[in-house]
């Protein structure tokens, strides 16, 4: 069952199979759909065996970076006498991305089950699910699911009668994009301002409360029960292109498109089929112009690039961008690219934590220049200024927020320079009259 659309025959509905089905939200409904069998099985295995299965499956982080999940877990050394923590990153705030929201809204127990398995595998007795403050419905649904799981003895001092303590707490953020950065999230959870930390030390050495910590994305953890239930070989076989990218992936689709929503496909699926077949192509009378395939932080693709892309970690890189969070933002021919790139820059300027000069100043300057160009006050020298700023914002700060601001600017100037030039020479936005209502 799909949400908000029916599942397309070309989809691979694993995580999204029960989206739109309210009964799947309850513990009873989840158990009827095979829920908590994987946790039961996991609690009878050694943590090292679980880590090995996940390693073998090829599962990689679904939050943006694509780091191999099993390897990440293996950095947590058992028996070091320290308290270990698991953080679940449910601070989904990357513009264009709304997949974790649907996982939490429709299948909260899938996330809880994956969370409990991961906690056990990394030797953590406590896990925190950090949910962005604006996600009021996912918060309510997750809190209800946690309560059900405690009442049923699935969580708590003696999880499913195993003797293992697994506590899971939901923690509400309060409006800060940067808290999706893993060390900022940990600072925020500790009751601090959400400033990212300098690494090293990495979270596996000194993370939450200074203790060894693993942080995983919602979608990553929701996939774990399926891997234990069906086996690493099954998951690994879900692959249409590069063997380094396995499993299914949720892509959120938004912008100027016929059927926006979430779609789940096997890694390596052709992007062209995805855009025109699954998502229904452009709105009537329109043409697609540009795609940002992995949330606003990744480089923009032209349609020529996008239509030749295979949807996996390597496939997007091969076509000049990244898979990122899987948030596909589509702009059609009615849209002004300068306006949207300026708006993205404004987003990053607003969300900069302001620790690093390059980011605090760079995001603000970039925004001002882009908005001036969009308003018709640009000059040809602005290209050099913008690209120099972008260079100073890339790879020079504590976290990658400023790099993320630079990515759409650099790729936008490369691929849509004519639109910038039209603004500068015409001293006005050529799209103003035809902008979509």
């Amino acid at each position: 069952m799909g949400y908000p659309h029916k599942t397309h025959p070309k989809e691979t509905p694993i995580l999204s199979k029960y989206f739109g089905e309210p009964q799947a939200r309850t513990l009873e409904g989840w158990k009827q759909r095979g829920g908590y069998r994987a946790l039961q099985q996991a609690l009878g295995m050694t943590p090292a065996d679980i880590v090995n299965v996940v390693k073998e499956s090829g599962l990689r982080g679904r939050g943006g970076a694509g780091f191999p999940t099993g390897s990440k877990w293996s950095f947590m050394k058992p028996g070091d006498g320290k308290a270990h923590y698991l953080c679940v990153n449910a601070d989904e705030s990357e513009p264009g991305t709304f997949k974790d929201r649907e996982i939490m809204r429709w299948t909260p127990h899938a996330l809880l089950e994956g969370t409990a398995i991961a906690a056990y595998a990394i030797g953590a007795e406590v896990a925190y699910i950090y949910i962005r403050g604006e996600f009021t419905e996912p918060l309510r649904v997750m809190e209800a699911a946690v309560k059900e799981a405690y009442d049923a003895g699935i969580l708590g001092k003696n999880a499913m009668g195993s003797g293992q303590r697994i506590d899971v707490h939901v923690h509400r953020g309060a409006g800060a994009y940067i808290c999706g950065e893993e060390t900022a999230l940990m600072n925020s959870l500790e009751g601090r301002r959400g400033n990212p930390r300098i690494k090293p030390p990495f979270p596996a050495v000194a993370g939450l409360f200074g203790q060894p910590t693993t942080i995983n994305n919602v979608e990553t953890l929701a996939a774990v029960p399926h891997i234990l239930n069906n086996g690493a070989a099954w998951y690994k076989a879900l692959c249409l292109s590069n063997p380094k990218s396995t499993g299914s992936k949720l892509f959120s689709v938004c912008g100027n498109v016929s059927r926006p929503g979430n779609y789940e496909v096997t890694m390596g699926f052709p992007f062209k089929d995805f855009l025109y077949d699954l998502c229904g192509g452009p709105l009537p009378g329109r043409k697609f112009k540009a795609v940002i395939p992995g949330g606003s932080s990744v480089p923009i693709q032209t349609m020529e690039e996008a239509e030749g892309t295979l949807m996996d970690y390597e496939g997007f890189v091969a076509k000049g961008t990244m898979l990122g969070s899987g948030g596909v933002i589509i702009f059609d021919d009615s849209q002004c690219m300068v306006k949207h790139i300026a708006r993205f820059a404004r987003f990053y300027a607003h969300e900069s934590c302001a620790q690093c000069t390059q980011c605090r100043e760079g995001t603000a300057w970039t925004t001002k220049i882009l908005e001036r160009i969009e308003a018709g006050g640009g000059t040809m020298q602005d290209f050099d200024t913008l690209l120099e700023l972008a260079d100073n914002m890339t790879g020079k700060t504590i976290c990658v927020l400023s790099d993320s601001c630079a990515a759409p600017v650099v790729s936008g100037i490369q691929k849509f320079k004519h639109e910038f030039e039209a603004h500068i020479t015409g001293k006005r936005c050529p799209y103003r009259a035809t902008a979509a209502a």
């Binding site: 908000p4 709304f98 309060a174 959400g194 938004c254």
Partner: protein
């Protein structure tokens, strides 16, 4: 959302938030974390739930119950966008205007909301005290443009045409 809080920057004496049931709720919350400081965000949420905003006096109280300094608490409050540092309308409306929603007409939704609520300006409260409207960055529901958040109620796919009917639900 309760907006009956008596705390003000004026004559009405400050009434502590963390007494009775609220104190019990706070104590249960503290059990989830190894430090008191970690309970700061949820504690501030409790204040906002009870009083509708987080006043300077409330920050002092929160500092006391969590063994922090008021300046530290204020530093955290001001980092996050969702804590109100001044009273707001009974219904606080957040509208997403980030690019994906912008491409689908979010600007017109904002204009219509400002007009129909009587707020006039972003961040201003309507003369009847009913509404405050602000623009926010990505609400994480980009496929359902334009999403708005009215207090804790998330509403998807808002268009200018739907605004009057939506507003009529919030008296």
């Amino acid at each position: 959302m309760a907006h009956s809080g008596g705390d003000s920057i004026g004559e009405i004496p400050y009434r502590p938030v963390f007494v009775g049931a609220m104190k019990e709720e706070l104590d249960a919350l503290l059990g989830r974390y190894p430090t008191k400081m970690a309970a700061l965000l949820p504690t501030l949420w409790m204040v906002q739930r009870e009083r509708g905003w987080v006043s300077e006096e409330a920050m002092v109280e929160v500092a006391q119950v969590l063994e922090l300094t008021p300046a530290y608490v204020k530093g955290v409050v001001t980092f996050y966008t969702m804590y109100h540092q001044h009273p707001v309308g009974r219904y606080f409306i957040q509208v997403c205007t980030t690019s994906p929603c912008g491409a689908c007409g979010a600007e017109k939704v904002v204009e219509t909301l400002l007009d129909k609520t009587g707020c006039g300006d972003l961040g201003a409260t309507s003369p009847d005290g009913r509404f405050t409207v602000i623009e926010v960055e990505c609400l994480g529901a980009c496929g359902f443009a334009t999403p708005i958040l009215v207090n804790d109620e998330f509403i998807e796919s808002v268009t200018p045409e739907k605004v009057p009917q939506i507003l009529s639900q919030f008296k």
